[in-house]
């Protein structure tokens, strides 16, 4: 629920923090999906 007053935190900083946790998570998930693909071979 974004509001004008809450937007004072730089959006770039919020995005950077999400990337900091999102990139390793996506890497881990994609590795798991590659492993899981063996079930369908």
């Amino acid at each position: 629920m974004q509001t004008p007053s809450q937007n004072k935190t730089p959006v770039g900083l919020v995005v950077a923090f999400w990337l900091l946790v999102g990139i390793p998570l996506i890497w881990g998930v994609s590795n798991t999906i590659i492993t899981a693909a063996a079930l369908f071979k």
């Binding site: 809450q6 919020v14 923090f17 999400w18 890497w27 881990g28 899981a36 063996a38």
Partner: protein, 466 residues
């Protein structure tokens, strides 16, 4: 007097109270930074085999550690997770999330370094103490530390907020497993399995990552609420606007009914998780290879992780009691149907049913903090959540023991391997029926347990006595 002193120390609650322009969406990644690290615990098994060859390198030599000896490392960590979450929860509420997260980073990262020393010196007790005791304490404090903060930032979406963080615990193993394997391959040499070096790298990386989370976390001002949001009119008796003190909460039947509901839901799921690879291979003999079974385990991990976010978000709309009720009803039906899928050879349905079951296992963890906040209020939910997590420790012991015991008993009775899981699934369904009854018995907390809102530090004053 300088500003730092006026506002309290670096770790104080005053120092991390957010100003009016703070964007609350900064807080979930701070919480995720902690949970993605401590979620490594579920990937610890990747070290088991290399740690049995630390002396022999190419194969186990006399004096090398055995798998049963190494199994204690994870068990000790889970026990200390439960104990530290139970005992540190109250402290967490007093000191705030930054200090608690930093303490978790020191214990978890430091635990890896102490364990690395134990590996280098080949002293198993030091590994037990490092990863098991210190690391376990880091796990417990880290698990509960961001939860109450998120609930306070997202009063309009309690379930979704805690689901985001606790999803990280499920995702942490997916990062740690391939990362650990890559690091061990990098450091492996003719004289080393690369485990010690991997522990050092992981300890340092996790410490830094968790410290970033501790630095980023903020708590809302006491009178803060999302702009444009007003607390809903009290039309749902299951969502309390009062607060219950930690020490008082554990004296209520609601706490113990929820303790059993969580314990039984986790017992059923953990029993499956530990046996998943063996179970699908024995249920479909000749049809499922070891590699395909590993793929099945990977899919279950994905379902566990995504279920943590999806079910807790759903609970914001249908309510926590209904969500838990769904886990128990749907879970019971699926556990009863799964053996039939195995017998009939329906691999796809077998996999699908287990994916739903594991999503509800994860959902149980992520929905419970919001359930507690609804019942006991938000003021001490972190501490109450910590004490409830002893249900997890109990289930961690009870679940695998139950599944292994039933399996071994049936094998001794001469039942074919392909059929041994049938009765196990029926027992799991029975546990979920008991869990359903516990959940249905949960009612709003009696007013006699509510705190006097002005007496936040001391013993609760029963509202009725005022």
């Amino acid at each position: 007097m300088n500003q730092a002193v006026t506002r309290g120390g670096f770790f104080s609650k005053e120092r991390i109270t957010a100003g009016p322009g703070f964007n609350r969406w900064m807080v979930p990644p701070a919480a995720l930074a902690i949970h993605l690290c401590i979620g490594q615990a579920y990937a610890f098994s990747v070290f088991n085999k290399p740690m049995t060859q630390l002396l022999g390198i190419s194969e186990s030599a006399p004096g090398d550690w055995t798998i049963p000896q190494l199994g204690w490392i994870f068990s000790i960590a889970i026990v200390f997770l439960g104990l530290s979450a139970a005992f540190a929860g109250k402290w967490l509420e007093e000191v705030g999330p930054r200090k608690a997260m930093f303490a978790a980073a020191c214990c978890f990262g430091g635990g890896f370094l102490v364990a690395a020393a134990g590996l280098h010196l080949h002293q198993l007790w030091l590994v037990y103490f490092g990863y098991g005791v210190l690391g376990g304490i880091g796990l417990g404090i880290g698990y509960v530390s961001p939860v109450s903060t998120l609930i306070k930032w997202f009063p309009d979406r309690r379930g979704m907020a805690t689901g985001m963080a606790i999803m990280g615990f499920g995702g942490g193993a997916m990062i740690a497993s391939p990362l650990s394997l890559k690091l061990m391959n990098t450091f492996k040499s003719d004289t080393s399995m690369g485990v010690t070096e991997t522990f050092v790298v992981l300890g340092v990386v996790y410490f830094i990552y968790m410290c970033i989370g501790a630095l980023a976390v903020r708590i809302p001002a006491a009178d803060w609420k999302p702009e444009g949001w007003t607390p809903p009119v009290q039309n749902n008796a299951m969502i309390s606007r009062n607060h219950v003190h930690i020490d008082r909460a554990i004296k209520t039947p609601q706490f113990w009914l929820l303790w059993w509901a969580l314990c039984l839901n986790v017992t059923a799921g953990i029993g499956v998780l530990g046996q998943a690879s063996l179970m699908i291979q024995e249920s479909f003999q000749g049809m499922i290879t070891a590699a395909a079974a590993a793929g099945f385990v990977g899919l279950l991990s994905l379902a566990n992780m995504s279920g943590r976010f999806l079910w807790s978000t759903v609970s914001d709309y249908i309510g926590r009691k209904m969500t838990y009720g769904t886990f128990f009803v749907l879970g019971t039906i699926l556990y009863l149907l799964v053996p039939g899928m195995g017998t009939a050879g329906h691999v796809a349905l077998f996999v699908l049913f287990y994916l739903v079951i594991l999503s509800m296992y994860g959902g149980g963890f992520s929905t419970v903090p919001a359930y507690l906040a609804d019942l006991f209020g938000t003021r001490y939910v972190g501490g109450i959540h910590g004490r409830l997590l002893t249900a997890w420790s109990a289930a961690g012991i009870f679940g695998p023991v139950l599944v292994n015991y039933i399996r071994d008993y049936q094998l001794k009775m001469g039942i074919p391997k392909s059929d041994v899981y049938i009765y196990t699934m029926y027992v799991m369904a029975g546990l979920l029926v008991i869990g359903f009854i516990c959940n249905m018995m949960i009612r709003p907390v009696s007013a006699e347990h509510h705190m006097d809102i002005e007496n936040t530090a001391g013993e609760p004053i029963p509202a009725a006595a005022k």
